[in-house]
Symmetry: C2
Subunit: 454 residues, 2 copies
C-alpha cells in the first residue's frame, strides 16, 4: 500500500467524466499526483460511437479513442492503470480496494480526494443466462469490441434487441447493416418511450418499414438456453429465436461496489451529488453516468446516462477538485438519435411526467418541412411542444424529422432551460433562408398553434 | 372617392408584412372591411426565394407565391388591388392617393386605420444609368421575373454584382448556375460585411474558388452606357465590362412617398414605430422592410430587411389592429445565407459595432467539425463568439460551415436574446449523437475557449 500526501487525486473510471476531470485538474495543477483506475484497457473514448463501429460505419475502433492511456501517462503525467477494477471504497480510512485483473492481485490505495466516475452498465433483470456469451450490453468500448468480434466470428443470423430506446434503435440499425435479421422487444406501446406515444409511433412505423420485427407491449420474461448460450428470448406472449441478444433496457449506474461505503445513493442507485459534484462524504466526488442529475424542468433528481452530461459533470468536478468553485446547474433531458433516415430528438418533460407532477399543460403537434416548401430536397418534420397552462412556459419538445431535428431541439433546450414562453419562441429571431427553413421555423409554427390553447 | 366607415383597414403593400397583418385581422374580425393596394401583380410571395428562381433551382415562379390575390379576395374576403401604387399619404384627412397603373387613373382612398407595408428596394446611388434596362435590384417577385426573362432573352455573358452581402452572394451563385461570368465589386475588405473580416475572408476565398472575379476595397463610382444600356461598371480602380448589373448594395425602405405626410422616419429613412408597430400618427401603423427595428443587443434602432422580421412584425401589427395588444420585442440580427457548399450565419453584434458602442468585449474563433470527428461525412465548421468583458454575456456569434451553421446560430440567437453568458452556454444541455455533433457542440467549444479571456 502506497502512502501519498493528502493532495493526491484518485479517479475511478477512465472514460468521459473521469478523464475530463483528471485533465482539467492537470491543466490547473501541473504538479499534483493524479491516479486513475480503469477496469478496461481503454480511456477517454466515445461510447456513443460504438453502434457505428459495430455497424462497420467506422472501421477502426481506435478512431473512437480520444486519448489513450499512454497519452495520458506520457503527455499529461496522469498515472493511468488499466485493467484495474475498484471493488470497495473505505471512506473511513480514505482508501479504495483495487483488483489488478491482469495480474490478479489486490491492493489498497489511499486517496486525498476521490472521484468516482464508474459510469453505467446495461440493465438486465436477474435471470438465468444474462451473462451468457451471446448476450451483450453496450456500455464500454470493450463491450462494443466484443459484440463486433462475436458477429464476425460466429456469424449469428438472428438478433433480438430487448428495449426500444436509443441504444436499442442504434444497435438495430447497426445489426441490420451487418446483415442480421433483427427483432426488437419493448414493453412500451411504442418504441422510444422518452417520446410521447403519438411521436413514438412514427419511429415504430419507421422501424417496421426497415424490415425489423417489432414486438410492442411485451415484457421480457427470461431466456431459453442451449449449452450456456441463449437461443431464444421469452416475452409475455412470444418466444423469439435469438443467435445474439442486445440489452437495451436502459442503463444502471455502476455503484454496487459502494455498498456499505456510506456514500449516499439515490434514483436507480445513482450517487447523490451536489452542484459541485460532491457526495455526502468529505473528499469524495462523483461525476458522469454513475450519478444522479437534477432535471431543471421537474426540479427533481433523475437518472440519465449521456455522454454530454458525463463530459460536463466531469469538467465541473475537475474544476472544483482543482480549487475553482463552479456549479453544474442540471439538465433538461435533451437527447437525439439517428435511425436510418430519421432524426429523433427530445428535450424537457413528456406527457406522462407532467401528469405525474400534476403540472397543468397543453400540447400540440404540427407537420412542417425542413426547408421552404418550394425548395428542392425539403424533408418532412414533425414538432410537438408542451407548455404550461396559463403561463405558456415551455415544458418539453419532441421532433422527428428527416433532417435538422437535432439542431432544432437545441433551440428548445435553451428556451426550456431559461423558462421561456411560447410567445418568447414566436418572437425569437431565428435564422431563415429558403435552403434551411420555412420563414417561420417549424418550432415557431408549433408554438403559434399551441399558444391558442393556453 | 369611396367613403367608408371608420372601421376600415387599408394596407399598402401585399407581401409578407402586409398580408400577414391583413390575414390576422381577418381571422379575428371576420366582417371588417380590409383593402390592400399592391404595386405589382403578386401578393404574399417569398422574396428570399427569388435567387433560386433565377438560378433555375425552382422552375416555376408561382411556387414562390403562398397566396394569390384571387385567393385573398375569394377565400379571405380581402379586397386586394394589384398594380395599384400609393403615391401619397394625407394623414390630416385620413386618406391616401392611389395610382391604378393598369388603367392609369388616380383616386383618393379614405382609411379608418392604415398599415404601411411597402417593403424595400435595392439601394443605388443617384448615378446615370441606374434605371437602365439591364440594371436590376432584387426586391420584388416582379423584379426577379424581369431578371430571369432578361437572361433568357438577351443571353448576357458578363454579370457584375455591386455589393457582397447576402443578395449579392446568392445572386452570384444563381448567375453562375445560369452560365454567366460573374464579378462582384465590394467596398469592404471582404465580402459579407455583416461578418467580421476574419470570418468574411473565408467567404471571399470560397467565392474566388468558384471562379468569380472578386474586387475588394473598391467603391462603385458610376456606369458606362451604350444606347441606354450599361456596358461597364466603373469602380475606384477598375472598369469592369457588364452585360447585366445586379444591385446588391443593401436595401432602402420604400418611404419616399411619405414625404410631408408627418409620419416620422428614422434610420435610413425607415418608418419609426413602437412595439405595437404604431407610427407617430394616430391610426397609422407600419410593418416589415419599410420600418426601423430595435436591436436587442445594442438597444438601438437599426435597419434590417428580412423576411422573418417582416412576417413577425406584420403579425404583431395585425394582432394589434384587430384589438389584441401584443408587442414586438425586437431582433438580435440573425441572418443566414447559402453560398454553394457553405452556410454562412450570424447573430448579435460584430466587432465594429461593439467598438462604436464602446462595449468592452472579448472574441475568439475555433475550428471544429459538424459531427463527431470520427464520423464519416463530417464537415468543417468555424465558430466565432463575442462576449462582454467581465460579465461574459454573449454579444454576437458568426458561423461558417459546410453543414448545420444555420441551425447552430439559432442556439446563439436564443442565448443572446435572453442575455445568457458563456458559462450558461457551456452548461447548456445541447443534443449530441455522433452523426450530428461532437460531444461538445462547436458553439460550446468556442465558449470554453473564450471564457478564459473574460
Amino acid at each position: 500500500m502506497t502512502r501519498l500526501n493528502d493532495d493526491s487525486l484518485v479517479v475511478i473510471g477512465g472514460d468521459a467524466a473521469g478523464m475530463s476531470a483528471a485533465s482539467k485538474v492537470r491543466r490547473v495543477q501541473p504538479d499534483r499526483k493524479i491516479i486513475v483506475f480503469e477496469k478496461t484497457s481503454y480511456t477517454s473514448y466515445s461510447a456513443c460511437g460504438i453502434p457505428y463501429f459495430i455497424s462497420g460505419t467506422i472501421t477502426d475502433c481506435d478512431a473512437l479513442v480520444r486519448r489513450s492511456p499512454e497519452e495520458f501517462r506520457n503527455k499529461y503525467n496522469i498515472d493511468v492503470h488499466t485493467q484495474h477494477l475498484v471493488t470497495k471504497v473505505d471512506t473511513a480510512n480514505k482508501r479504495i480496494k483495487v483488483h489488478d485483473t491482469e495480474n490478479n492481485r489486490e491492493f489498497w490505495q489511499e486517496y486525498g480526494q476521490l472521484l468516482i466516475a464508474t459510469g453505467a452498465k446495461a440493465y438486465c433483470p436477474d435471470v438465468k443466462g444474462n451473462s451468457a456469451e451471446n448476450v451483450f450490453g453496450i456500455s464500454t468500448l470493450r463491450s462494443g469490441i466484443r459484440v463486433e468480434k462475436y458477429i464476425r466470428e460466429n456469424k449469428p443470423g438472428k438478433a433480438v434487441i430487448i428495449g426500444g430506446g436509443y441504444i436499442g434503435l442504434e444497435m438495430a440499425e447497426a445489426l441490420l447493416m451487418r446483415g442480421l435479421k433483427v427483432s426488437i422487444v419493448t414493453r412500451g406501446s411504442q418504441v422510444m418511450d422518452t417520446l410521447d406515444p403519438d411521436m413514438g409511433i412514427k419511429i415504430s412505423d419507421a422501424i417496421k418499414s426497415l424490415g425489423i420485427n417489432l414486438y410492442l407491449n411485451e415484457e421480457f420474461k427470461h431466456f431459453e438456453l442451449d449449452n450456456d448460450k441463449v437461443n431464444a428470448v421469452v416475452t409475455t406472449n412470444n418466444t423469439i429465436d435469438a443467435d445474439i441478444v442486445i440489452l437495451g433496457m436502459g442503463s444502471a449506474p455502476n455503484t454496487t461496489f459502494l455498498a456499505d461505503s456510506g456514500i449516499a445513493l439515490g434514483v436507480k442507485g445513482a450517487i447523490k451529488v451536489n452542484g459541485q459534484m460532491q457526495t455526502n462524504i468529505p473528499d469524495v466526488w462523483a461525476a458522469g453516468d454513475c450519478t444522479e442529475t437534477l432535471n431543471l424542468v421537474s426540479k427533481q433528481q433523475f437518472y440519465i446516462a449521456l455522454g454530454t452530461v458525463a463530459n460536463k459533470t466531469g469538467l465541473v468536478a475537475g474544476t472544483n477538485l482543482a480549487g475553482e468553485k463552479i456549479t453544474f446547474p442540471g439538465v433538461v433531458g435533451t437527447a437525439v438519435c439517428k435511425l436510418c433516415k430519421y432524426e429523433v430528438a427530445r428535450t424537457g418533460l413528456q406527457e406522462k411526467e407532467l401528469k405525474k407532477l400534476n403540472i397543468e399543460y397543453v400540447a400540440t403537434t404540427i407537420d412542417s418541412t425542413t426547408r421552404a416548401d418550394y425548395f428542392p430536397g425539403n424533408k418532412k418534420i414533425t414538432v410537438k411542444l408542451l407548455a404550461e397552462k396559463n403561463s405558456g412556459r415551455l415544458l418539453g419538445g419532441q421532433i422527428v424529422g428527416e433532417e435538422d431535428a437535432a439542431k432544432r431541439i437545441d433551440v428548445l433546450a435553451v428556451a426550456i432551460t431559461h423558462n421561456l414562453t411560447l410567445q418568447n419562441l414566436i418572437d425569437m429571431d431565428l435564422s431563415y433562408a429558403p435552403p434551411f427553413s420555412p420563414v417561420w421555423d417549424p418550432v415557431q409554427t408549433c408554438a403559434r398553434k399551441l399558444i391558442k390553447y393556453i
